[in-house]
Symmetry: C3
Subunit: 430 residues, 3 copies
């Protein structure tokens, strides 16, 4: 019976201790303080807003956490069908002892108080990690993060580079860069020195990846120092909107330089491809971004050809790009499929995308999943969602369709869940 | 046993009385007069033609209905695999007492006569509605439709605006507009008055939506009155092919104005995105249109941002655009997913697209299905096809995969089948 | 029980003797000489390389076949999850008596020797064909192939035209054309004569198709003789890079002329749409090509409209184009869906794409599968993979979902597997 087989496989997969290779955890406050931190996650606020809740209700300045939760719970009813809502219920049941199937105006206060009691415990974050079967989580650090004050073997630094590539024209970004590196950035040479110093800083603090999110129309090209110098002057001059071609040239120049440093420092370069920022201009916090699915990995051919020694774990935002991702990972030794990102992080898409990868990409070149979470409590339900789908695919498409043994299926599951994270990112001390 | 569960869910869903929120029914002749009206549906003529039947055989002037059916039945054999053919068999069995699985040269005449007898009854249209579980159907009316002569609570008017946006340069269209409104359209101001009068006319006759089908390269932008005036003069001058930029500017101007009136009159604006007209130039009637699936909803960002109070039920022609539709509906409060249109109205696509919507879009923001039918007899098999797939998804992905109760699953099914039609379109008298 | 039903359907489908309508078999050496010919297939070398094996290890000049196999087997471990690996195991078991589930460093030599013994038999190729249930395979012949030395009823010639369309500017190609036809090509008129002679040659040798693979940005347009003459002179002048517009004009001119000759000689014109050549520049032999999935069949509207009597069996490289293919085949009488090509030739994609075709395209207009193989041994596992998926779709979506009988399902399976190959390509003597 396939349903039973799926359950057996899931139970085994769920017992593997994992490393989460991409999150937005703040290592100084990794877990939630109240249920408002949970329901404040953009997946809930944006869906509640989309279903009719006013933004002002959600983002009222100085709003008390308990009141915020009360307001949001009232507006969750239209979302009860979503998989995002199921994350909330599952984490409430597993982490806070909640025993019902829906969080309602009738029962939310009990849940709130139970959560508050546990979150207030001295080692809540560690408890959550343990209960979630996670022994380390990767961070996404601003380039000027001092990277001190926590155990970098558990909370592993990654260098986020969006600001450097896309916002270097902003004086504030250049100021942060100067303060972080002691290097006043006035042109191409000082920029290269400054970014080199960032890499040294990050690698010396145990960083295991460089990461960036990219708009669908980005197509990396090598830019000469001369062209970059002109572009730098134009973009960083201040006063008026700089020429779009100069902006693009500078972005390309910095991006290419990051790849060069990844090569030098042997850091994987996580590419998260396809997001358009601020599409819904009146959206709630972090609920404004969307995408144009007309993007192709062919835009990255020069990059993949140009840096054969850099490993590129690639995430795509739209499921229609997944076949290209699988095919590029099948052909290019340095392209790795990486998780199921954001708008593709729901069962129907994961099932389709994961099956295609498992069937055509070498088993060693697939990072199964990352949580992308902002608070530790989400690791458990998100990974479980993925593990259930993985178990379904392994049961239906490998054991039933291809006659694999359960053990073979589990070995493949273990490889994409854990083995490849160790192989690709080599987290220290694990 | 999942198969049994699917059947139970289907039976419950099939008992819900529905409103069909988009059809091309002629309210003065809503049902078929002979089986030729059934087999004359473009889904059959275009497939028969594609499989080898000459267009002249199908569209011979003055062709007797019985002879037309005889010719088409002979050419249905190559289509027996298609889901469209299954609509024909199912409606024949349910509505006309047909008892076989295939309509052949051996049995078609019996069917023809049985159909003719029932269609000739005095209340056939009402019988079909009743038997199909439909209590109202939305129309797609030309802008100059007088909207009289039928019960608009059962046959609900909708203002179709394709001609206004894309064919205003045709003198005939401007003449029809003048006759319908008494407003001689000679420029931007009179155009605005005329279209305002259309909205008044439609709303006063119980219209519940404005609707338009759009080519894949359409990207609505606000156009100033001044620019529109120039464009109007260029496009409507007659004599020679007008400048393409002027045509686009005028189309954008009219489209934006329609959205303004939808706002003022509180009408939902149905967008049916992605069709290229007249691609197969020698095709049969209504069998010439195809598409370019390279379209993105990002083209509509300005519109969705610009009209927060207008509800946009959006249909996309290609399944590859469905994830964008789901994501935009998840983020934008005014975007609603709307049915499974035309080339995506077949089980494999519906199953994939519907599952993704049910998992990620608030349950209140999904119009499950519309029939798009030209004759009432098609409502029954088309909705049943959808309800079977919906039952399959609810059984497999909600009850089995997510542990829902059957009642929860049915509530969600009811919501997307009926509840949201009432909520979004607020049909009068229901 | 659906699993049992699938097995019954598969067994029946697997007993049908087939014609493989597209391969790259060399008719003078159709089968493998050693296991190195099997593992030298690009599907294995490119995946092994992608998983870390050095290209120099694979492509070392003068490498002994046994040593090559030893090296590759060692590097297959990371690919054991792939469906491509399953082809290798299945053909080893069925054709060479291999009895294990994995080919390893421990057991490969036994397999190598067993394979060698059978391959050395006098009628190995015939044995493979018989055991694979194939009675004929289509070839892909260079335009200057003499087409002699084999039975063209078993190894059916097809005229491959990539060189003529895309590389006529290369002197070597024009030289080959002159030698093959005795026609010195110096302009439009002689080019037309030469290509006409190729068609005569091929048709007189039993050719049953003209074929070409096309990049995603190709959009065929009719080009006048005058424009073509200018383009020919520019492209074939030698000396320097010719103008890109001239190259495109000449490619379009030759392509259109091929369609004209297909019309005259009543040859189907296989279009294989979407490949970018040499994307991964350091890839192994035949492992460098990828694609841009942003392609639309709308680019081919003029062609499909312009040649109503030419049959176009169309293959698309990316699954995201499959819905367009199904829709175009549903509307255009001369468009046929053709197999599951290359990067879409894996179960998850085949299942999705095949289901959509079976539901919406006339059953007579679908070529179910071709192997695309270079050596005969691959026909068996590739066709079986397809037949298992076909059986799954017929069981789940036709027998269970639509209430078909097993016999109806088998008839449809037979039609797409064999009947339509006969109908569309009319192979001689069968």
């Amino acid at each position: 019976m396939v349903t039973e087989l799926r359950k057996r496989l899931f139970a085994e997969l769920d017992s593997i201790v994992l490393v989460d290779p991409h999150t937005h955890i703040n290592p100084l406050q990794p877990a939630s303080a109240t249920l408002a931190d949970i329901l404040g996650y953009h997946y809930f606020t944006e869906l509640a807003h989309s279903a009719g809740m006013a933004k002002t209700e959600i983002e009222e300045p100085g709003l008390d956490p308990r009141e915020k939760v009360a307001r949001l719970v009232e507006n969750l009813v239209p979302l009860e069908n979503t998989v995002q809502y199921s994350w909330f219920v599952e984490l409430s049941r597993e982490l806070f002892g909640f025993e019902e199937d829906r969080v309602t105006m009738r029962n939310w206060e009990t849940l709130y108080d139970a959560a508050l009691a546990r979150m207030s415990g001295p080692d809540w974050a560690d408890q959550v990690l343990r209960q979630s079967g996670l022994e380390a989580v990767f961070l996404t650090n601003d380039f000027d993060d001092p990277l001190t004050g926590w155990d970098t073997r558990v909370y592993v630094p990654c260098l986020r580079t969006d600001d450097l590539v896309f916002h270097l024209g902003t004086a504030g970004v250049r100021d942060r860069l100067a303060r972080a590196t002691g290097e006043e950035v006035s042109g191409v040479a000082s920029l290269r020195r400054a970014i080199g110093l960032l890499f040294e800083h990050f690698v010396s603090h145990n960083a295991r990846a460089c990461a960036i999110s990219l708009p669908p129309d980005f197509a990396p090209k090598k830019v000469s120092d001369g062209r970059a110098a002109t572009a730098f002057d134009s973009v960083c001059a201040g006063g008026g909107q700089p020429d779009e071609r100069d902006q693009r040239a500078l972005a390309n120049f910095v991006f290419w330089m990051l790849a060069e440093y990844c090569d030098e420092f042997q850091l994987p370069f996580d590419l998260m491809i396809g997001v358009h920022r601020n599409v819904y201009t009146s959206g709630v916090f972090q609920g404004k971004d969307l995408y144009d699915s007309r993007v192709s990995l062919i835009q990255y051919s020069d990059l993949f050809n140009g840096f054969p020694s850099v490993v590129f774990p690639v995430s795509v935002l739209a499921s229609v790009t997944n076949q290209e991702l699988a095919s590029f990972a099948w052909i290019f030794p340095n392209v790795i499929t990486n998780g199921h990102w954001w708008y593709s992080n729901s069962p129907a898409f994961i099932e389709h995308d994961c099956a295609a990868r498992l069937e055509t990409v070498p088993g060693t070149k697939q990072i199964g999943y990352y949580s992308d979470m902002y608070k530790l409590e989400f690791g458990l339900p998100k990974f479980r969602m993925y593990k259930r789908i993985l178990a379904k695919i392994l049961a239906e498409r490998f054991v039933v369709d291809r006659g694999w043994t359960e053990q073979q299926a589990l070995d493949l599951g273990r490889q994409v869940l854990r083995g490849n994270v160790d192989r690709v990112f080599r987290p220290a001390g694990l």
